[in-house]
């Protein structure tokens, strides 16, 4: 029997038993709508978790760390170090858009300042790291402010160089100055004691969270402190821009660096960025490399503390992460793992709900089996007749499976419509009845094209499962017996 004949025969047979099929199809409708609803819900929640709550369009590669007792030792036991070669290799992974190496200050440093706000200078430990300026370009109002002024700044004429600098042989060089003079260099350049050349302050960005913590907690608790510190004001981002402190590199409360004498450099706050170090100051990586070479040695300027990897698209993240960990043997920071775990949790909950949907479907498959067994009992004589008219056993099987396919497609289709209706209703209630909260999404659901297709496929498969045994039974009906027996 060819396909078009089969389709016509199935459609002819379906005219009867429509009520039986409608009843046994209800299970499929319920199961498929549930399956669709929960799959879309899981997918929607997962994307909220992964795209908003935990941002995972970027990965941070860190040196391998081993837990040795209570201590975490980084790179001691021969873990891979992060060098320029690592950066290159990461760059070449498919789906990677850009890589940003990060480096921490690897020697004692402190900062002194704050007179403008507190009336007296405070000295604090300076924790700092360096990042490629490009990383914060689009976050800063004046992206030119965050530059490595002391590195090679190329120029064609003096007007391209910062204040107190001249263009010499294609690079900007600070003019010589006398540090004892006031206003030895034009603002914002200043004249350090050791170099006696006009120098731009080291641009620094800090994390907005730092300000938040200061304003929300530190400010309150310090209010009860002795002396000037209790008078510290609430601060805003704007008020702080341009704020300068003296950085003392090579010396702090906690110690002095083994190598080199301490030097003093001015730090200037040029902006706030999510990408800045949580507790400390973030500067262009060129400064950190030079300071580390000077105070710690050449090798410390070659090893990065982490490399941020940004992917072209969000969905590349997991592939890239896998390449990094499995193929390259590198380690990703805890953030990624935390996000993964949250995503996994959502997946598990989704699966649990989908399991319920599958159980509903399995029950309806049994229901369908009963229906078909009953129908076949009813049609015993008819099946015998068809065999007498030339139908083979496989024709009979195909016809029954064909009927179950139609049942699956219709049941699945109605299930999808019901599911869509439910999704629209839940979203409406969610938007109108639930108050706002952080990361509240527009919709709880994310529907991809594969979902309705897969749902239809699942519906058909369960109908087949239900019809398999009846189809087998039907094909086994003996025509002579079925036709001569009592009606």
């Amino acid at each position: 029997m060819n396909a078009s004949k089969l389709v016509r025969l199935v459609l002819q047979s379906l005219r009867r038993n429509t009520r039986d099929f409608a009843l046994s199809g209800i299970g499929i409708v319920v199961g498929i709508s549930t399956l669709f609803l929960f799959t879309a819900l899981g997918s929607g929640i997962k994307s909220v978790v992964l795209e908003d709550v935990f941002v995972v369009d970027q990965l941070e590669v860190v040196p391998q760390s081993y837990d040795v007792g209570a201590f975490k030792s980084e790179g001691l036991v021969g873990g891979a170090e992060l060098t320029d070669q690592t950066v290159d290799k990461l760059r070449q992974i498919e789906g990677v858009e850009s890589t940003y190496p990060k480096m921490k200050l690897a020697f004692p440093a402190s900062a002194r300042g704050g007179e403008r706000f507190v009336g007296q200078n405070l000295i604090v430990e300076l924790v700092g790291d360096g990042i490629p300026p490009k990383m914060v370009d689009d976050e800063l109002e004046d992206s030119m402010a965050f530059r490595d002024w002391s590195g090679e700044v190329t120029c064609q004429s003096g007007s391209e160089c910062p204040a107190g600098h001249q263009c010499q042989e294609g690079t900007c060089r600070g003019e010589s100055c006398d540090p004892r003079e006031d206003d030895a260099c034009p603002d914002p350049a200043y004249c350090p004691h050791d170099t006696q050349r006009c120098t731009m302050p080291v641009p620094v960005v800090v994390s907005p969270r730092l300000l938040e913590i200061y304003n929300n907690s530190l400010h309150t608790s310090l209010g009860g402190a002795k002396g000037a510190i209790s008078n510290m004001p609430q601060l805003s981002e704007d008020a702080l821009l341009g704020f300068e402190v003296e950085g003392i590199f090579g010396r702090s409360y906690l110690g002095e660096s083994k190598k080199g004498d301490a030097i003093q450099r001015r730090l200037r706050l040029v902006g706030f960025s999510e990408r800045a170090i949580d507790m400390g100051a973030t500067m262009p990586i060129g400064y950190v490399k030079r300071f580390n070479t000077r105070f710690r040695g050449e090798s410390s300027a070659q090893n990065y503390h982490s490399i941020v990897v940004e992917t072209e698209r969000n969905k590349d993240v997991s592939n890239v992460a896998q390449t990094i960990t499995d193929d390259m043997g590198l380690t990703l920071s805890d953030d990624y793992e935390r996000a993964q775990r949250a995503g996994l949790l959502v997946t598990i909950v989704t699966l649990a709900f989908n399991l319920i949907a599958l159980i509903i479907l399995a029950i309806s498959a049994i229901n369908i089996m009963h229906t078909f067994l009953m129908i076949i009992l009813e049609r015993r004589r008819e099946i015998g007749l068809m065999r007498a008219l030339g139908a083979t056993k496989s024709d009979i099987r195909l016809a029954i499976l064909g009927e179950s396919t139609v049942l699956g497609v219709i049941g699945g289709g109605v299930g999808l419509l019901v599911g869509w209706g439910l999704i629209a209703m839940v979203d409406y209630l969610f938007q109108t009845q639930v108050g706002t909260f952080p990361f509240k999404p527009d919709s709880l659901f994310a529907i991809s094209a594969w979902m309705p297709l897969a749902a239809l496929g699942v519906a058909v498969i369960f109908c087949w499962i239900g019809a398999l045994l009846p189809a087998w039974r039907a094909s086994g009906i003996d025509p002579a017996e079925a036709l001569t027996g009592p009606e």
Binding site: M1, A388, L389, G390, T392, D395, T484
Partner: protein
């Protein structure tokens, strides 16, 4: 052409085995009109089912058009049923959810060869077949709205679909009253005469059997008589004309 030699058939019910056909030898040539008669339980239906390839569990040889039925596989026997035989049953076995025309066309679903292409001239449409049995006006009706005689005509049209060379009829008049039964038999005579279709009709009614040209008598599974018969042949022309307009309500026995 159907050649049966030394056919035995027995049924096992529980521990007892009952032979219902014993040493049956029977040769039916093309174009014959044979009535098989016998009392209830004598094995008529069993014999017919074996001939038509519906029952394949027997001992002995059954040869149809020079092919031993035992040598056919599942799809071969299905093709044989589809193309070589047309079946007519006492209970009509029409599908009420289909129209009369769809019922007649049902065997077409199971035809392997593509009639349209291979046998363009040989094709007889369901409509044409229904015209021939006098039911040209009932094409789109459900068989459930027809009288018993009309239903049996629909079943005969279905049996003729695909131009089988043999019609195997099991008590075709068993559910019909005397007159309607005779009309059906007249239709058979006409088909046999004009299209030389081989007709094998099982019946337990003598007046029906007397319309065939050969009568085979079965008794307890054995052929006890096999003789030619001079059939009563009324005016052949009358039957088609009277068939359509005789709604006999009392025939409903199903």
């Amino acid at each position: 052409m159907i050649h049966i030699s030394n056919l035995h058939k027995s049924y096992e019910t529980g521990e007892t085995t009952r032979e219902v056909l014993t040493s049956v030898d029977l040769e039916i040539e093309e174009g014959e009109f044979v009535a098989i008669v016998g009392t209830s339980g004598s094995g008529k239906t069993t014999l017919l089912n074996i001939m038509g390839g519906l029952d394949r569990d027997y001992d002995g040889r059954v040869v149809v058009d020079d092919c031993d039925l035992a040598e056919f596989d599942e799809s071969g026997i299905a093709e044989l049923r589809n193309e070589t035989f047309g079946f007519v049953f006492q209970q009509f076995n029409l599908l009420d959810h289909l129209t009369v025309r769809e019922n007649v066309a049902l065997p077409g679903f199971f035809t392997e060869r593509d009639r349209q292409r291979e046998l363009p001239d040989d094709e007889i449409s369901p409509e044409e077949l229904l015209h021939r049995v006098g039911l040209g006006d009932y094409l789109e009706q459900s068989p459930s709205t027809l009288s018993g005689g009309e239903r049996q005509r629909v079943a005969i049209a279905r049996a003729l679909y695909g131009r089988p060379s043999n019609l195997l009829c099991d008590e075709p008049t068993g559910s019909l009253d005397h007159g309607t039964g005779l009309q059906i038999m007249e239709l058979f005579q006409q088909l046999n005469r004009e299209q030389s279709i081989t007709l094998i009709v099982v019946t337990h009614e003598e007046h029906i059997a007397r319309m065939a040209r050969r009568i085979v008598r079965l008794e307890e599974g054995r052929i006890v008589a096999d003789e030619p018969n001079d059939p009563v042949e009324p005016e052949a022309s009358s039957l088609v004309a009277t068939a359509g307009d005789a709604p006999d309500a009392e025939e409903e026995t199903t």
